[in-house]
């Protein structure tokens, strides 16, 4: 591993993982001078009994729940009308912090409320990258399992618009065994593919950022080691907890580098077709790496280190590390069987929309990927063969 000439790495969140992690919430709040959180959850989280478990964990603390709102709409983004209502609720109840239980829109909504209560003016004016200029209210994220990783990142989707700021990282991430419960195999595979894409794309690129690599490598390794087990046995407690850790680390790693080609295309396709992001990214990931090899672009051999660990990495000759890691990754995705599609054709994505997807992806990646590269990858992905 080489030390780069310069690099920047930022990670705000404190991760609290494992048994009784939730019991630490009151300490964390106190350390941030907060004691009256607004708690957000979705109806499904409450129906699964998780809200009850959360409240129970605070019994012996001096935390006063300002308000518990568990009617967050099950959209794929935070919706402005609900956000405005929650801002009113936050102020009316005199809350001083936010706790989000769950994933996806719940966390996006929590981040949105946090922007609104900590800043003045129209929240949509803060859309884009680094438009938030000051620290927000204390924010704790309680994971409930297969959420993909964007929850722990520095981004949020509010009304389909992307907000990116280091102030959007959660202050504390709680990964408690009691809250991380089994979901469907499909959900596990899809969420893992989002996180795996984020992690691989943030470390397989030529830019070397050793801290980022550490987070990404652990995320990749945890997913590689545990996903097939969880798919086989969705109730596996250790497997699910390891995946939740992987998602959290992938989110942090991903926040330190602009989105890559697979992540950006996956978002564009998912937004248009309504298909889950993980499905769109899963089969694109090995294809994209194969495509880069075909174009003689370098892929760092450290990907193999992430997948196989020190021993496996050392066993493979240096020249073969890239190709071996791609083969392993391809096999890994194939092993997920029918849980992921194999081509855009199979997904019934319309070919005439490729240009639009490429344009959106290039824009999202801040031109890190070109429209031409996107079009080439999409053409390959149509049949699913590089």
């Amino acid at each position: 591993m080489q030390l780069p000439e310069s690099y920047v790495f930022f990670s705000q969140p404190k991760i609290n993982s494992g048994k009784n992690a939730m019991e630490h919430i009151y300490v964390e709040l106190a350390s941030m001078d907060a004691r009256k959180p607004l708690v957000l959850a979705s109806r499904q989280v409450t129906e699964r009994g998780l809200t009850k478990k959360f409240i129970k964990s605070l019994y012996d603390s001096n935390v006063v729940i300002g308000s518990l709102y568990d009617e967050v709409y099950p959209y794929h983004y935070a919706c402005i009308s609900q956000l405005n209502d929650l801002v009113e609720l936050f102020k009316a109840r005199g809350c001083d912090s936010i706790i989000a239980i769950g994933g996806g829109s719940v966390v996006d909504l929590a981040k949105g409320v946090n922007i609104a209560v900590s800043n003045s003016g129209n929240i949509m004016d803060y859309a884009g990258t680094n438009t938030i200029q000051k620290r927000l209210k204390p924010f704790i994220y309680v994971s409930t399992g297969h959420c993909g990783g964007t929850e722990t990142s520095n981004e949020a989707y509010i009304e389909n618009r992307r907000f990116v700021s280091d102030f959007l990282f959660p202050d504390v991430i709680i990964l408690d065994n009691r809250m991380i419960t089994a979901r469907t195999r499909q959900r596990a595979a899809e969420a893992s593919m989002v996180a795996l894409t984020a992690a691989i794309e943030s470390c397989a690129v030529p830019y070397n950022n050793p801290m980022n690599d550490l987070y990404a490598n652990v995320a990749i390794n945890f997913i590689y080691e545990n996903l097939l087990g969880v798919v086989k046995k969705p109730g596996s407690k250790t497997g699910n907890l390891a995946l939740a850790n992987a998602y959290a680390m992938a989110g942090i790693s991903f926040s330190n580098i602009p989105p890559g080609i697979v992540y950006s295309l996956g978002i564009a396709i998912a937004r248009d077709t309504g298909l889950p992001r993980g499905q769109c990214m899963g089969f694109l990931l090995p294809l994209s790496l194969e495509h880069r090899v075909m174009k003689n672009e370098s892929i760092r051999g450290e990907l193999l280190y992430a997948l196989l660990g020190t021993e496996g990495y050392c066993r493979v000759p240096e020249k073969e590390r890239t190709s071996t890691s791609i083969t392993i990754l391809r096999q890994f995705v194939n092993d997920l069987g029918g849980l992921l599609p194999k081509s855009l054709k199979e997904m019934r994505v319309n070919k005439y929309k490729f240009e639009e997807y490429a344009r959106q992806a290039s824009e999202m990646s801040m031109k890190r990927v070109t429209q031409k590269d996107c079009m080439q990858l999409l053409d390959i992905a149509w049949e699913g063969i590089a």
Partner: protein, 620 residues
């Protein structure tokens, strides 16, 4: 005049790229399996069009299909169908239209017209019994619909024309025939993308005769009797037009108010059919032939104009908090001139108003303010300023700017003016309709909210009736006949009239498939068999309706449609209406699995192989 007995079975196939045309005959087998109109149009496209074509590209095909009843003088048969891949939704779209073009094309000796390719420069087509001529459209390109129509109608008895909206590829541009429209799904943009401004048919070259005129006359007599007996067709629509729905919807709480936040409004009466009769001096202005006479002209702002249909009134009126019939008429006139679907235009403007209010979108549009609406509509038609983006429809806008929960569309097609939170069956119907947010696929609202034949707030029997009505209306749109004739066919037979309402309610809710015994659907099958000379009973006819519906669904699933798309806007699933103290929402997830089961779809909403096999649909 030459005569055609039954149907000519001849279809014109035009390639605008090569400016050539050919003629092919419909095999009797296809005619028997798909009737005509929409059904046959879908089958022709299924056989010819590859999956995944760009709706605005040269490979998209648009089919104009005359049903077997066109030209025979059957009651309410002055309608034809068009089928294409919609640029608004990206899936199959079909539309039904009155107006003189259908009659003109049929009496030129053609049962249908398929158009593909793209002309290098703007053209219009002239069609007579000899075939097609490609004519330069330079003089009419850019002209508003009525002005262009005045020019081309000098050459034939009927024409279809697009306006500036179609030329500018507004995704909800429509096609006009006389004063009627192929309204939904952006068919005008499909023609615009092909550089085709109009199609004019000479007409009056052939007389259409039924194969069995005695049976035909007998059926016509029975059909006319039913229409004249039924209070909806003989009174409600004839006197008040479709705007009679305003007060009925308001009372039932299904009127769209302020972008579907309320279900009724105290000022609704101001835009009702009753008020238009009292204040605007309406006269008949209908399709031909027509027995129902729902279309009217009236005086607005000192001019004689078409009375806006209920959908237009609902979506440009209460839904935008505008209660001035003159303003609504102004919007209707702009949409007519520009060539735009008023439902999608109204739905998109309502989204823009709310998005503006919430700071998601920048415009001067605001609820209750008509002035900005008129300007926005002109801008949409001309693709100027914000009009360029508004012309992409509410789905596109909400994906770009946010506000997806209040973008009131299904599969990209803006929903019509019925709030399904007050009629759960209509909610299911909107969600699963093949072309998107279409009220006509089962028209469930009328049975739930107007006629009270179904309890609006339960899910009982909703899946079965939706399937049954969809099959019926696919038959209606394939014969082709006016959908309003379903009211008398469903409600006038003696058994239905004699049954006490309570018994009818229970039997419909619990045994919907048996409802067919009470109705007289044989009117439709007899019409078809008397004109074509082929045998058809109502049971077989319903199975054909099923085949047409499933074929369309199957074509859509090949374009990516699945259960994820059979949904409703978030607002209808999560927020109650202001007017409903119980804040009820549509329990869609309860109804969907039942619907898929009765339809023979798998749990992801894809037709099962055995369903396709049973319906003799060849899987591709």
């Amino acid at each position: 005049m030459k005569e055609i007995t039954g149907t000519s079975n001849k279809v014109l196939e035009v390639d605008l790229t090569t400016q050539k045309f050919s003629v092919f005959e419909i095999p009797v087998k296809d005619r028997k399996m798909y009737l005509g109109g929409k059904g046959l149009g879908l089958k022709l496209l299924y056989d010819r069009m590859p999956v995944g074509v760009d709706p605005l590209g040269p490979d998209n095909i648009i089919a104009f299909m005359m049903g077997v009843l066109m030209g025979t003088g059957a009651s309410c048969s002055g309608r034809f169908a068009a089928v294409t891949k919609s640029p608004l939704t990206g899936i199959m779209s079909s539309a039904s239209c009155g107006g003189p073009f259908g009659m003109a094309l049929k009496t030129s000796g053609w049962d249908g017209l398929l158009i593909k390719g793209k002309s290098a420069k703007p053209v219009y087509l002239y069609i007579d019994s000899k075939g097609v001529q490609f004519r330069d459209a330079k003089a009419i390109w850019g002209k508003e619909i009525r002005k262009a129509q005045d020019v081309v109608l000098k050459e034939g008895a009927g024409a279809i024309v697009i306006g500036p909206a179609g030329e500018n590829l507004v995704r909800f541009a429509n096609i006009c025939s006389g004063h009627r429209f192929l309204g939904r799904g952006g068919m005008g943009a499909v023609l615009g993308a092909k550089n085709l401004k109009a199609v004019v048919a000479k007409g009056q070259e052939y007389k259409i005769l039924p194969a069995n005129s005695k049976k035909f006359e007998k059926t016509k007599k029975r059909s006319t009797k039913y229409i004249n007996q039924n209070p909806i067709t003989s009174n409600q629509y004839r006197v008040f037009g479709t705007n009679s729905h305003v007060m009925l919807s308001n009372k039932a709480g299904i009127l769209p108010v302020r972008n579907f936040t309320g279900g009724s409004h105290g000022e609704a009466a101001k835009v009702s059919g009753e008020r238009i009769v009292a204040k605007h001096n309406p006269k008949f202005s209908t399709c031909k032939p027509c027995t129902i006479l729902c279309g009217h002209k009236a005086t607005f702002n000192g001019q004689e104009r078409s009375v806006p249909e209920f959908e237009t009134t609902g979506l440009f009126g209460p839904n935008l908090e505008i209660f001035d019939p003159n303003a609504i008429s102004d919007f209707n006139e702009i949409c007519t001139d520009m060539g735009m679907d008023t439902i999608s235009a109204g739905g998109t403007i309502a989204w823009a108003m709310e998005a503006t209010e919430k700071g998601l979108f920048k415009s001067d549009l605001k609820f209750g303010s008509p002035k900005e609406v008129a300007q926005a509509l002109i801008d949409i038609g001309k693709a100027k300023g914000i009009g360029k983006e508004l012309g992409m429809g509410s789905r596109w806008l909400s994906k770009k700017y946010g506000g997806e929960d209040f973008a009131m569309h299904v599969k990209g097609l803006e929903i019509a003016a019925y709030d399904p939170r007050g009629a759960f069956g209509q909610g299911l119907s909107f969600a699963v309709a093949n072309r998107g947010g279409c009220h006509l696929s089962s028209a469930f609202f009328s049975l739930e909210a107007y006629l009270h034949m179904y309890q609006p707030y339960t899910t009982w029997g909703k899946a079965s009736y939706t399937e049954f009505a969809e099959n019926c209306f696919d038959v209606v749109n394939s014969l082709h006949i006016c959908q309003f004739t379903a009211f008398p066919v469903f409600l006038e037979p003696p058994i239905i009239k004699m049954l006490p309402t309570v018994v009818l309610n229970i039997s419909l809710s619990t045994m919907a498939p048996l409802a067919v015994w009470f109705m007289d659907l044989s009117v439709w099958s007899r019409y078809w068999s008397s004109v074509t000379g082929h045998r058809l009973n109502m049971w077989k006819m319903l199975s054909i309706g099923k085949r047409i519906h499933v074929l369309e669904r199957y074509m859509n699933t090949r374009e990516g449609i699945a259960r994820k798309d059979d949904t409703l806007p978030g607002r209808l699933l999560n927020e109650g209406r202001v007017s409903d103290p119980k804040h009820r929402t549509v329990p869609l997830e309860k109804m969907l699995p039942k619907y898929y089961k009765v339809r023979g779809y798998d749990e992801n909403g894809i037709p099962k192989d055995r369903t396709l096999k049973k319906l003799k649909i060849e899987k591709k």
